[in-house]
């Protein structure tokens, strides 16, 4: 019965039938497409007509008008004589700052708590569970206000500021250098420390102030040294990995990197005679001026958002880890891998594909929840732009459109990055 010779099959006739799924999907799509286009068109037409009828001013010209209000945290230079457009930028950067740092913290805390919920130690487990239940079940607004009041209550007024000096530390280093026969360098260092004049760091209920470095002419060399150090670290990491691959030997990358990062610029600074001075915060009148401020609004918002979101992330991580079958960690253990390596090399990489999609949702949520910062006076995008600016100019359509567009952009970029990462960790299957 073997018939290996392929004879031509019957001519292929495409019969059109109402039940053909291809045709069906074509029809359905056409209907949907027409509907969507009609919706968009009618909304736009209505808006145009209404705006024209009510004679409401529109356009983006207002962005160039002078804003006239001050802002408490500005990552770029800003004062009230600058434009609304500038205020928008300030608000956007503030949102991005708290969202970015918050995402990092939330991820760290969330992973730790998620793993802790699976711990065999009852106390750790109970603490982690309590953490999740409390943070997840209280509205974020409350948590933000709680941290704000807690932070403010814990800190003294400006006049009773807690201060931390750098001088004792530097003196100690200098005497250490002296001890190992580098007295001249040590002397130079303490002279530099003298220019720092302790104390330089202040903490009070107006926030944290740290000295602002002011770079003088020779400082380019230090900068170059820093860049060199970073490159050196990069090369060291690559070399260390290659060495591990080649010989199986581990190399203390972290400590080397730390040494390079501190050592190289320090040497450069010694050679050039410490060309950096610091603008120290000074108590003048009501509060400190100068230096770099970290405001309590930011701290409270950051705490609250990280801790709140971490509660959700912990659950996601727990579910992710549970989704990796026990056989995987048993197999790793039976190969002699220690628990931390098992977690790092086997469990987490597989858990990630379960974790990442909901994690993305949480990142988006954190970013959006940062708008709640308005309750504690954090000047984020919504507070500055969709709040104060909207109120001053009244141009609701433009402002809300811009705000929505900005958030959409942020979230789409986040989603894209996460999807890209998701594809990287996705399993290859048949």
């Amino acid at each position: 019965m073997t018939d290996a010779s392929l004879r031509e099959g019957p001519p292929k006739v495409r019969r059109w039938s109402w039940t053909d799924p291809k045709l069906r999907s074509l029809v359905l799509q056409a209907v949907l497409g027409i509907f969507l286009i009609w919706m968009a068109w009618s909304i736009l037409a209505n808006a145009q007509a209404n705006l024209a009828r009510r004679g409401i001013a529109s356009g983006f010209g207002f962005l160039e008008n002078s804003a006239g209000f001050g802002l408490v945290q500005t990552l770029i230079p800003y004062d009230e004589s600058m434009s609304y457009g500038r205020a928008f930028l300030v608000g956007l950067l503030n949102t991005l700052l708290v969202a970015f740092v918050g995402i990092i913290f939330a991820t760290l805390i969330g992973f730790v708590m998620g793993v802790a919920r699976l711990s065999s130690n009852v106390v750790i487990k109970a603490l982690a569970s309590a953490y999740v239940e409390v943070t997840r079940n209280l509205p974020p607004l409350f948590q933000i206000m709680f941290w704000y009041i807690a932070v403010l209550a814990a800190l003294p007024g400006p006049r009773q500021s807690l201060s931390f000096g750098l001088q004792p530390l530097i003196n100690a280093i200098a005497s250490g250098l002296n001890g190992i026969g580098l007295g001249s360098v040590g002397a130079q260092l303490s002279a530099f420390a003298g220019t720092l004049a302790a104390p330089g760091v202040f903490l009070n209920n107006r926030g944290l102030r740290i000295p602002r470095p002011v770079f003088e002419s020779g400082s380019t060399i230090v900068g170059i040294a820093l860049v060199v150090a970073i490159f050196a670290i990069w090369f060291t990491m690559r070399w260390a990995k290659r060495r591990r691959v080649a010989t199986g030997q581990q190399f203390p990358v972290f400590w080397t990197a730390l040494a390079l990062l501190i050592g190289l610029p320090l040497i450069a600074a010694v050679v050039t005679g410490f060309p950096v001075t610091f603008e120290k915060p000074e108590l003048r009148g009501f509060n400190f001026v100068g230096g770099v401020p970290v405001i309590p609004e930011f701290v409270a918002l950051l705490f609250a958002l990280s801790i709140y979101t971490a509660g959700f992330i912990a659950e996601i991580v727990r579910a992710g880890i549970l989704s990796v079958s026990k056989g995987q960690s048993e197999a790793a253990a039976s190969l002699g891998l220690k628990p931390n390596l098992t977690m790092r090399l086997v469990v987490i990489p597989q858990a990630l594909r379960v974790i990442i999609p909901p994690l993305t949702s949480q990142y988006l949520n954190l970013t959006k929840n940062s708008t709640l910062g308005v309750a504690v006076g954090y000047p984020d995008l919504v507070a500055v732009f969709a709040g104060t600016t909207l109120n001053q100019t009244g141009q609701a359509i433009e402002i809300i459109a811009i705000t929505m567009a900005v958030y959409l952009t942020i979230s789409i970029i986040t989603t894209m990055i996460m999807n890209w990462y998701n594809r990287r960790v996705a399993l290859v299957e048949r």
């Binding site: 199986g248 056989g327 253990a333 039976s334 190969l335 891998l337 990489p349 299957e429």
Partner: protein
């Protein structure tokens, strides 16, 4: 066939008793799952364990590399007694390879990466060397050409052979197999069994839970029959199959040999 040179060196250096179980007892909660198990496996011995489902076969061999903790008695593997000391456990696990019924390959790593993971991280072997070793064993189990694929892309028999190769890459002195063929097609069973036979010929110490009686007859030095957490009967294969002593063994063998 001559012994595998890569393995031979290791085997020679080891103590003469590979595994010793002395009065081992284990409970799951209140359930007494292993009852007074005594067993001595000499180096190079090949032992097949059989018995009805739930009799404690898996538990026994999982205790041997401490995937389960036993509560009473002693387990000495490769001269090292298993206690709560994590270091010792790691040492033992390095010397004991295990092949699971469900393979438990790491799906996010390629076949080659699966094989070199432990040698590079645990034995700190250079990657090149580890890869050579891996390819050696992959060739031995006849799937060197699959090295770059992911486990999800292989057929079941191929996956099972990867699991064996992965365990061998740690160059263990002792191999434990937990029903390595029960999830396979008949054709693949053959492939896997052949691989195991060739290992057995290399003088590896092997403890194998299986119901492939052909394999037991061909390879085993001793066959152990377990029931209800106890070793009921233990004998060399010919005697075991032709002349079972215990009633329970007779019943079981009558069911399984068709």
């Amino acid at each position: 066939m001559s012994a595998d040179p890569i393995l031979a060196a290791d085997v020679a250096a080891a103590p003469p008793t590979a595994i010793e179980l002395v009065s081992v007892n284990k409970w799951y909660g209140d359930f007494h799952v292993l009852r007074d198990i005594n067993l001595t496996v000499k180096r190079g011995e090949r032992i097949v364990v059989c018995g009805p489902s739930g009799s404690g076969k898996s538990t026994t061999i999982r205790c041997i590399n401490r995937l389960e903790e036993h509560q009473r008695g002693q387990i000495i593997v490769d001269g090292i007694e298993l206690t709560n000391d994590l270091k010792r456990i790691d040492e033992v696990r390095r010397e004991v390879g295990m092949v699971f019924q469900h393979f438990n390959l790491f799906p996010h790593l390629t076949i080659l990466e699966n094989c070199i993971l432990a040698p590079t991280w645990v034995r700190k072997m250079p990657r090149k060397e580890a890869e050579d070793l891996a390819m050696h064993f992959l060739t031995k189990v006849k799937i060197p050409e699959q090295a770059g694929k992911y486990p999800g892309q292989l057929s079941g028999g191929q996956q099972q052979r990867v699991a064996i190769a992965r365990a061998l890459c740690m160059r263990p002195r002792i191999m434990l197999f937990d029903e390595p063929t029960s999830a396979l097609d008949p054709e693949m069973v053959k492939e896997v069994l052949e691989t195991m036979v060739s290992l057995a010929e290399d003088g590896m110490t092997m403890l194998c839970v299986t119901h492939e009686m052909g394999f037991a007859r061909q390879v085993a030095d001793r066959v152990i029959f377990m029931d209800a957490g106890q070793i009921i009967e233990m004998n060399e294969p010919n005697a075991f199959f032709s002349n079972p002593q215990h009633e329970r063994t007779k019943l079981f063998l009558s069911q399984i040999l068709h």
